[in-house]
Amino acid sequence: MSLDAEEVEKIAHLARIAVTADEVDALKSELSGILDLVERMGELDTSDILPMAHPLDMPQRLRPDVVTEENHRDEYQAVAPAVENGLYLVPRVIE
């Protein structure tokens, strides 16, 4: 597996991580090396194997649909980068 610069840029976009040209250059070989390692699992024939859904074969637990949490908005927003009137601030989305 050998990724080119365009592929690395596309992956970085999917991951929402800004990358410089130098970083793209290094990532091409680093990510390709990791994918080479990963692709060794192709040596194992798994055509009849059910993929593991849970290590203990446990189903997801359900609970009654009732309110269990108190309101912690002020505490949780105290660690936010920018808030106003109980709302999180982000750059303008709609002009």
Binding site: V8, V38, M41, L44, I49, P51, V79, Y88, V93
Partner: protein, 486 residues
Amino acid sequence: MSELHEKSIAELSAGLAAGDYSSGELTRHFLERIRRFDGELNSVVTLAEEQALAAAAEADRRIGAGEAGPLTGIPILHKDIFCTRGVKTACGSRMLDNFISPYDATVVTRLKEAGVVMLGKTNMDEFAMGSSNETSFYGPVKNPWDTDRVPGGSSGGSAAAVAARLAVAATGTDTGGSIRQPAALCGITGLKPTYGRVSRYGMIAFASSLDQAGPMTRSAEDAACLLAAMAGFDERDSTSVDRPVDDYVGQLNREVKGLKIGVVKEFFEEGLNPGMKAAMETAMEKLKELGAELVEISLPNSHHSVAAYYVVAPAECSSNLSRFDGVRFGHRCDNPADLEDLYKRSRAEGFGPEVKRRIMIGAYALSAGYYDAYYLKAQQVRQVIADDFRKAFEEVDVLLGPASPETAFRLGEKSDDPVSMYLSDIYTIAVNLAGLPALSMPAPLVDGLPAGLQLIGNYFEEGRLLNLAHQLQQVSDWHLQTPEGY
């Protein structure tokens, strides 16, 4: 009389009850040791002195009132992956350098209720991604056995601190070996419990289908004391297992005569350091003397575990770490042009290179058209690996092998080559993929450096593993070996 930092949890608990010393004195003793030694080791990233002294005072009140449990007043450290209310929780990352957690992880709550005193938080690989503690935003941790060497990772700060006796014990987390490998490299005992045994609530998520928290201690007995308080059902973790917790301490003295131990053939093949192999053989002889029966056993697909892991773990991390968006908490870039710029630059600035690599590998593996080839295939490989273990446990009670292929490597030795770093976890990863419990405990030193003996149990057999390790520690002194100067 041995010094306070050389005593076991049971000895300290008895000393506290007898009034030989107070939890306040004990706490100050360890705070002093951290100040004295940690400048060089860098194992503690946040010291919570004020909170620790307040908790010690409360512990002393409980002890005086006859309300103490076995952990009341015992000073420990938490890995900085556990959210601690009112105390900085940075997970080794610039992304969370400004994060004061508004709540406690369940592990932290449970240990608080047991009366434990938290001295502070330990250094770790960024978001638990690493095997050497070199990916931390707060700089590498040094191994107290040789400060030119790594302590292992990702729970490297916890391992180094316990090895240097800077705390009685510490918590760790293990996604692919992050408790066992640093425990091995620093010469302590570390247990990764069965998936779902310890709550993941408030433990910053890396790979949710693999992550487990566990104790890191100087002996199996101490690990049993700590696990007893950490384990148990938690409604706040959807994968927590609703099943009674075994009496780990009560089981420690069970006889191990007749126990059938499978020596994993594949863990003794090429790549294993010869000195390490000899150390394992010495430990195996001791187990035979205890009356255990050792047989060779095969996990024929275990060599596929690293490949499958580096799909599953990155895929889950790319999803889990998408929450770091620069909006609700964590690092935010200056002057974002628009929302996409806010996301991209906040993440580029907040995450280090290894975390970025793993997020990107995960994003790629989960992207349109690749799901079957990567994630689905990895989950199939995972099933094959779990089936190997299932078959092995039809033949034997416990599996044995080294916890890592070599002793602690030098700082910088593998940090430029991600793949060579990944291969330092070849003996630990299969256990996480299968969700099994396993521990690493000290074997004889190899060239003056610690070597870890790994014991793997069937699901929920933590008690059996701790029992076997404890019995071995009754007839050997490898766990008492201390790095010089500490």
